[in-house]
Amino acid sequence: MVAAGAGWADKANDTLRAAFTKELESVDSYFNSAREGVVLQRAIWDGLIYADPQTGEYTGNLATDWEWIDDTTLELKLREGVTFHDGSAFNADDVVYTVNFVADESNGAVTQRNVNWMESAEKIDDFTVRINTREPFPAALEYLSGPVSIYPSDYYEEVGPSGMGLEPVGTGPYKVVSVEPGKRFVLEKNENYFDGPKGQPSIGNIDIRTIPDVNTQIAEIFSGQLDLIWQVPSDQAERLEQMDQFTVANESTMRVGYLAMDAAGRSGEDNPFTKIEVRKAVNHAINRQELVDELLKGKSIPVHTACFPSQFGCSQEVTEYEYDPEKAKELLAEAGYPDGFTTEFYAYRDREYAEAITSYLNAIGITTDFKMLQYSALRDLNMKGEVPISFQTWGSFSVNDASAMVSQFFKHGELDDARDDEVLEELNIADSSTDPAVREEHYRNALQRIADQAFWAPMFSYNTNYVFTDEVSYTPTADEVLRFHTMSWN
């Protein structure tokens, strides 16, 4: 009934009403991989460390101090006097239990990459813990300030992931009033929230409904039943902005769109993309700026590297391929395709972007047999090495470190269509060194090699439009995390 009542609330009732487009699977942050899940995670739970969304600087959150004891051991001093939403006190046992639970693969945390760098955690005393990593893992602080949230040990042990998904308990700025799986989430301000870097929440209640149709979301914000919507398509956002009733804020996201090409010849030795001239031709064929200006708009930018520019180590000093269709045709001719060739072209989302890209390719003589697949089906083909060229995207889970992108795709894994030993070697050094200067140097080398060899054709970054009523004050951040605790009423 709380939820039903909240449906008619507004600023007068101190309730902010927002909408999700997607049915979120589970609120348990280790058992969903959705953007909406990250949003709830930041509201309900805290990490050990906090990364300033503007500067990227790390400060203490549930931990106050930390120190690398050796390459694989991080010791953290924990904050005292913090309580979970259920009233239990936070201490080292909670960290140890959470880390040991999620790091154990058999417990099935969905996004293994976020947690499988941790081997285990051990308690030194009530407010000191050590986290042991499997290998030297320089991006540890970034992960501890992002996807690794700390759960109350006794409660989690008792209810497990499905219980946590229905009645989540954390230390965060908001506590959960009710969860209707996939449909509605009601939060209220945590009056006992500790004085941490996130700051005290201002708005009393948050009522989030899942409304799949964007047009309905817009109708609801018009009829005064919603205060905030996001991920609004650019054409609709433009129209809403012209109406002067709403604030439309646009912010970049870490998601990068790119073309992956089968340079290693996994889909057949005679595959044209094994030839560097063809890959360069593809890179020259596409007008990235035009795609950004006409289709993506907002704060999207053309991207030339295999990572998102703000990520640590994402060097921008790489070979760039300017839009030059004539040069592209010459390169194709050089490669032995004066009349072009026909290839299968795969995509799994953003059909309109993918189609625009294929029209550029068609213009230089690469005829595309366009195939739009479900993500899982494309992934399946990808892993079998049967995809000559595809339009893909990667969001790095908002992890602000180049390893979250370039190292995912160029370390000879099943999705690596380049299989380049030189890149592998550079990434191995960069991923495991604890010296930032060494890391930067070797990421730069790897990214330079990827660009020189044109293994990918990076395209552009994505952006998100946030639309809210004039009563709401909010400044979105570039990591595409909706932070309720930084919102306030005007």
Partner: protein, 305 residues
């Protein structure tokens, strides 16, 4: 009558079993479920672990047998996506869809049947033309568009009805109209055609000649016969509404079973999709069965056919 019912019941069970097997096997043709479950971030080992954990590596017939045995005990497993028991999930979503479906078919029947009858009594009159116009418009308008028009008028302009959600009965008014209007034209035309045909039949003339009142002729003699195909059609429409109200549920954010099915297919949430297909199939089967029985009651000649 009992023999007729038993025969139909046996047939219905056979159809249900066949549907369950076909749906089970079709879903395995749509790609490796382990990859879908592992999600965007998984590697080959993750996928292999999931394949083993969920038993996707076993022969399909064994998997089907296990599934059927559990399903008979109303255990449809856990949703891969929501990590909740599928039976609970479906029960919850189905209540929304059932409410919507029943309201929709009632709306369709109470508007379509009287309109059809009046149109048949007065062919080519103004009301007949109006009925024809409504039925053409109903079939030509896509549901999502009609839904949005109603939202714009009643939620935004007039502000009298909510645009989305399922918190109160008022939330169901607009979706009921959209869904009901979709089923209305066919029912109305069938009623009209049936009435026209019956009204020209000999026994109606006989009834009139014997001095029966016009209302008795219309409702006791004519409508009872004209309504037989309408009953069958309404049953099919009802089944369709329960499974096919995806668009309406999506536009009005109702989170019913139809939308759940649509989304679950995209998410490769196999246990949910399999259970929903079975449930929808059972609805069709039950409604068709009920329509058969009702028709047999309305027209005794059908019992022997």
């Amino acid at each position: 009558m009992l023999r007729f019912i038993l025969k139909r019941l046996g047939l219905a069970l056979l159809v249900a079993l066949t549907v369950s097997f076909i749906s089970f096997s079709l879903l395995y043709l749509s790609g490796d479920p382990a990859i879908a479950m592992a999600g965007e971030s998984a590697n080959a080992e993750d996928v292999a672990a999931i394949r083993e954990l969920y038993g996707f590596d076993r022969p399909m017939l064994v998997q089907y047998g296990d599934w059927l045995w559990s399903a008979l005990q109303l255990d449809f497993g856990q949703s891969y996506y929501f990590r909740l028991p599928v039976a609970d999930l479906i029960a919850e979503r189905l209540s929304v869809t059932m409410t919507l479906g029943v309201c929709g078919i009632v709306f369709a029947l109470v508007t379509a049947v009287p309109l059809g009858v009046i149109a048949a009594i007065r062919p080519n009159s103004l009301i007949d033309r109006l009925a024809l116009f409504l039925s053409v418009a109903g079939q030509a308008m896509p549901s999502f568009w009609f839904g949005l028009i109603l939202i714009v008028v009643f939620a935004i302009q007039l502000g009298v009805l909510p645009a989305s959600g399922a918190d109160s009965w008022r939330h169901f008014i607009l979706p009921t109209i959209v869904l009901g209007y979709y089923a209305m034209p066919a029912i109305m035309r069938l009623t009209r055609a049936g009435m026209l045909e019956v009204l020209s039949a000999d026994y109606i003339r006989t009834a009139r000649a014997k001095g029966a009142s016009e209302s008795k002729v219309l409702f006791k003699h004519a409508l009872r016969n004209a309504i037989i195909p309408v009953v069958s059609l309404a049953a099919v429409q009802m089944g369709f509404m329960l499974g096919g109200s995806i668009v309406v549920e999506s536009v009005f954010a109702l989170h019913g079973a139809g939308y759940l099915a649509w989304e679950s297919i995209g998410r490769n949430d196999l246990p949910t999709v399999q259970a929903l297909i079975l449930v929808f199939a059972l609805f069709y089967i039950v409604f068709t069965f009920l329509a058969d029985v009702m028709n047999a009651w309305l027209d005794p000649r059908m019992r022997s056919s």
